[in-house]
């Protein structure tokens, strides 16, 4: 039991309120991205409906926390919100309805901002999708409260038409890197394929401050921020066992199947994601495509920033000998946790984030990536 929780929280747990579940389907992010990419040229325009609601979100230890979330017919109620995808230069139409009793807003910083939407009202936002890349969307009101309470997500702009990189305006070095993927000398295997894209949204939860909003909706943002002590750290809304064993979060593939990972931080703390097994190439920083493409095992991810990284899926470069003599290495569940193959973690190295409720290591912010086989040699 978390200390110091407010009265409304206790009420929410009691039989005074019925708790209704939300049934949510499952879907692989990679599959959906491919479907969208294949259909986008001939698709007709539609308006995305987003509704802001209050809800409870269950943490890894079954604690339920008060939250505000975007609801959509396609993705249901989600914290963080659904990934919204559009194509560079096309018209985008989003209707945001505020079904909460406080004013809210919707913004993609630098692209569009609804301004305050009073309770019970809607705003139709029509704008042109920005150059291809990774963007945040969020409720910018009473920052950081509304965003941290759950009103945020990732907006992806895709290049129009087939493109060798995920960008409208790639830098020379990003283009060079993507040109080399699949090259028999530099990166034997496949070139990057857009369906090999994963998205990692970093968030955190302080149940004390979050539940406080249920009773004190006028809580000053400065007080909220100053007293904020995150106890749960989530990747795509999951943590620990569940984020490591989620195929939509944990990239898998053979050697030679590079993956793009769009990382974004909607939380309160600077994260320091560290990946095992391969270094990644940092493709973007602060919303700009990188001119100097560093090869990193740890990247700095401050709040409200995004970083795109390319996980090359090369042979673990310091493994000896390679390949391992035991072919069962690709099918063995070494740790006994149900994952087969060569399993490597990605975890935040600001290690407080590896905990849940001040303990329960490693039920915090991490996932896995899995090599399922060596390079496939043609013929």
């Amino acid at each position: 039991m978390v200390e110091g929780l407010v009265s409304r929280r206790a009420l929410l747990r009691s039989t005074a309120y019925g708790l209704a579940g939300v049934a949510l389907g499952s879907g692989s992010l990679g599959t959906l991205l491919r479907a969208v990419g294949a259909a986008s040229s001939s698709a007709s325009a539609g308006t995305l409906e987003l509704t802001i609601r209050e809800c409870l979100v269950e943490m890894v230890d079954e604690t339920r926390v008060y939250a505000w979330a975007f609801d959509s017919p396609e993705a249901g109620l989600r914290v963080p919100g659904p990934v919204i995808q559009a194509t560079d230069g096309t018209g985008v139409s989003i209707r945001v309805t505020n079904a909460h009793h406080r004013p809210h807003a919707f913004a993609i910083p630098g692209v569009v901002d609804s301004g305050p939407i009073p309770p019970g009202e809607s705003r139709l936002l029509e704008f042109t999708a920005p150059p291809a890349g990774t963007y945040l969307y969020l409720d910018p009101l009473r920052a950081p409260i509304n965003r941290v309470m759950g009103l945020g997500g990732v907006f992806v702009s895709q290049p129009a038409g087939p493109a060798p990189t995920p960008y409208t305006h790639p830098t020379t070095q990003v283009r060079n890197l993507f040109d080399d993927l699949g090259d028999s000398v530099s990166f034997p295997g496949d070139p990057w394929r857009p369906e090999r894209t994963w998205i990692w949204v970093f968030t955190c939860v302080d149940p004390v401050q979050h539940d406080r909003l249920a009773d004190e909706p006028d809580l000053a943002p400065v007080a909220f921020a100053a007293e904020y002590l995150p106890r749960y750290f989530l990747l795509n809304g999951r943590s620990g066992f569940f984020s490591t064993h989620d195929p939509g979060t944990a990239p898998t593939g053979r050697v030679g199947q590079p993956a793009l990972i769009r990382t974004a931080n909607l939380g309160m703390a600077t994260h320091s994601p560290h990946i095992h097994g391969n270094h990644v190439y940092q493709l973007s920083e602060g919303g700009r495509v990188a001119e100097n493409v560093y090869s990193l095992d740890t990247w700095r991810l401050p709040p409200l920033e995004t970083r795109d990284v390319l996980l090359p899926f090369v042979r673990p470069p310091d493994a000896y000998p390679w390949p391992p003599s035991d072919p069962k290495v690709w099918t063995t569940d070494l740790a006994g946790d149900g994952t087969k193959g060569m399993v490597f973690p990605m975890h935040c190295h600001a290690e407080l984030s590896q905990l849940a409720n001040g303990g329960n290591y490693p039920q915090g912010l991490l996932t896995h990536w899995v090599l399922t086989g060596d390079l496939e040699v043609a013929g």
Binding site: L19, E58, T298
Partner: protein, 377 residues
């Protein structure tokens, strides 16, 4: 009340404002008249898998290294829990770390002794876990999971295991225990790891060249919370019910260390001050071992030639990058576990201050300052 369902995989369905989506794999909301809807977490479907990942990971006593060969170089690292550092207020703070059992003069070091090898060497690092279980993860080194030292993706070592890996590329790395890492890393179970180019110490890769340097310093800023020293080896881990002791909920560092030396001794202690002559080339290997970001200011222009153990503009997969310069006095920020290799060539004689501001891990506000110096004669 319906509680059977869980959230969709990953970030869930991608929604697009251009293409109306429908059909299979779409979620379905249940009407929630008057009550708050609940976004449910996943249910635990296999308790054994869940516990093997978290509170009860696989352990080996005498682990067998797959494909074991005769190494070019080998190290033994034995866990110790008896280190102490006297802080500026006179208090002695406990550290756990690794020792080299062949070094009888230094049996309770903190940080752990350096592992230093050359490019191309096959390395054995043998862990003696002493009491309870531990691991060694060579951070930035990328071997198979058997040799990666992560309990929850392989196994914890109950007694001994030899990690086998090949030093493919020169650069600055480190090693640390990866069991209950939040606690064990904070308590000091880490040490530097350097891979030199084939020429050995005194040489470093700069782009496609190998260049000599005259002096070298390893700077590892760390933030230390003395209250965590009272915690047990497995504090916070519990099977069955979730752990609700909240032992590590608060991280409130009180001391600021550089490579094991507490500030303000760092200003003058020769273990950490950098010394060189005017015009000589000084290599600074910087590693952030604090849990907050660290903002570093140097008194001279510094050329960043390596990041996270990889050479900027280097000969292998690093040709999409190039060295870059941090102007004197300009701050640069490293998040936890990042490493930068900086070349400095002082053009003046004197004692020049270096500052490292350690920030709060959540609020990002400066919490503690570490000061040291570059002393140029």
């Amino acid at each position: 009340m319906t509680e059977a369902a869980t959230a969709p995989s990953g970030t869930g369905p991608v929604v697009t404002c251009e293409i109306p989506t429908s059909g299979a794999n779409q979620p379905r909301a249940i009407a929630t008249s008057g009550a708050l809807p609940v976004v449910l977490r996943d249910r635990i479907r296999n308790k054994k898998h869940f516990e093997a990942f978290g509170c009860d990971v696989r352990k080996v006593k005498q682990g067998v290294t797959p494909d074991r060969v005769t190494p070019d170089v080998e190290f033994v690292r034995e866990v110790h829990s008896g280190g102490q550092v006297q802080m500026p207020d006179g208090k002695r703070v406990d550290f756990w770390s690794f020792r080299d059992p062949t070094d009888k003069k230094n049996d309770k070091p903190f940080p752990a002794p350096i592992i230093r090898v050359r490019e191309g060497q096959i390395v054995h690092t043998t862990l003696w876990a002493s009491k309870n279980t531990h691991t060694i993860h060579h951070h930035g080194i990328e071997p198979t999971p058997h040799n990666d030292g992560v309990g929850h993706t392989s196994f914890e070592v109950d007694k001994t295991y030899t990690y086998q890996w090949r030093a493919s590329e020169s650069g600055s790395f480190f090693y640390h225990c990866h069991k209950n890492t939040t606690l064990h890393f904070e308590l000091g179970m880490y040490g530097p790891l350097v891979i030199d180019p084939p020429q050995g110490p005194g040489f470093v890769r700069r782009g496609t060249q190998v260049v000599p340097y005259d002096h070298e310093v390893v700077w590892i800023p760390d933030d230390v919370d003395p209250a965590w020293r009272s915690l047990g080896h497995s504090a916070g881990l519990r099977c069955g019910p979730f752990d609700d002791t909240q032992h590590m909920l608060r991280f409130e560092p009180r001391y600021w260390l550089l490579s094991g030396v507490p500030h303000p001794r760092t200003r003058t202690d020769s273990k950490v001050t950098a010394r060189c002559r005017r015009g000589e080339r000084l290599l600074i290997r910087l590693l952030n071992a604090a849990y907050g970001p660290v903002e570093v200011r140097l008194p001279f222009d510094a050329e960043c030639i390596g990041m996270d153990g990889h050479t900027l503009g280097g000969p292998k997969g690093d040709r999409y990058s190039r060295p870059w310069t941090i102007p004197a006095g300009q701050s640069c920020e490293l998040s936890t576990a990042q490493r930068w290799d900086l070349l400095v060539q002082p053009d003046r004689v004197g004692t020049f201050p270096v500052t490292m501001d350690v920030k709060h891990w959540v609020q990002g506000t400066p919490q503690g300052r570490i000061e040291t110096a570059i002393i140029v004669s």
